[in-house]
Subunit: 109 residues, 2 copies
DNA sequence: GAATCATATAAGTGATGACTTATATGATTG
DNA sequence: CAATCATATAAGTCATCACTTATATGATTC
């Protein structure tokens, strides 16, 4: 699955934000997501599966607990794709600065 | 609609790639997408509507033709969100380099 | 070994969004 | 003004995916 397909879901984005803070047990993630999105434990588990299988997350067992951590590798692909558009918004900001400068000149002139 | 929700669709991502090359008429976009994805003109038009309404694209009329150009502003949000993960993949690459160095030492020793 | 905990997986459901065909709308031409 | 072009919108369809409940699986405790 393409990285953007994975990130196209708000629950999965939220999970990744949690994992960015550090390793989390499955149950901890479930608690947060249930509180914020109001969905069931198995629903969350399915999202975790998508993240594992797409490479965004890794899991290790500790007794009956499963600890998830983020694997940031797929973000490189995301960043590269977004990178092609960087010149555009920088350009737009430059154009905005120019426009503001023109506006100031006209008001003075 | 959230920017990632928009980018979660491969057709829309492709359209944005086209627009990154420069302004395109609706019909040109339709021709490319039909060739690559095999979907109908109205289907493409609906995707263009999503891009307009989410701020990723702007349109102007020229006779019966509609010319689309990209508005890169929403990419800033995308980039910022991805930005929080940048430290991670840099860190992972460092760890990989360290691991490779260790591997070389063990083989030598 | 039964009970409990933690959570993944199985199986089913149904809403949504990506699709289709039909046609409306806007512009131009002859 | 009818015909044609360009394409957006309307209305309907249905596959997919995000959800649910049920339960299987793995680990630990007593």
């Amino acid at each position: 699955m393409h990285a953007f397909d994975v990130l196209g879901d708000p629950v999965r984005r939220r999970i990744l934000e949690l994992l960015a803070e550090g390793e989390h047990a499955s149950g901890e993630i479930v608690a947060v997501i249930q509180a914020e999105f109001g969905i069931s434990q198995p629903a969350v588990s399915q999202h975790l599966k998508v993240l594992r299988e797409s490479g965004f997350a890794r899991v290790r067992s500790e007794g009956p607990r499963r600890l998830y951590e983020m694997d940031a590798a797929p973000f490189k692909d995301v960043d590269e794709w977004v990178g092609r558009f960087r010149g555009f918004w920088s350009h737009k900001l430059d154009a905005l600065a120019t426009e503001i400068a023109r506006g100031k000149k006209k008001r003075k002139g």
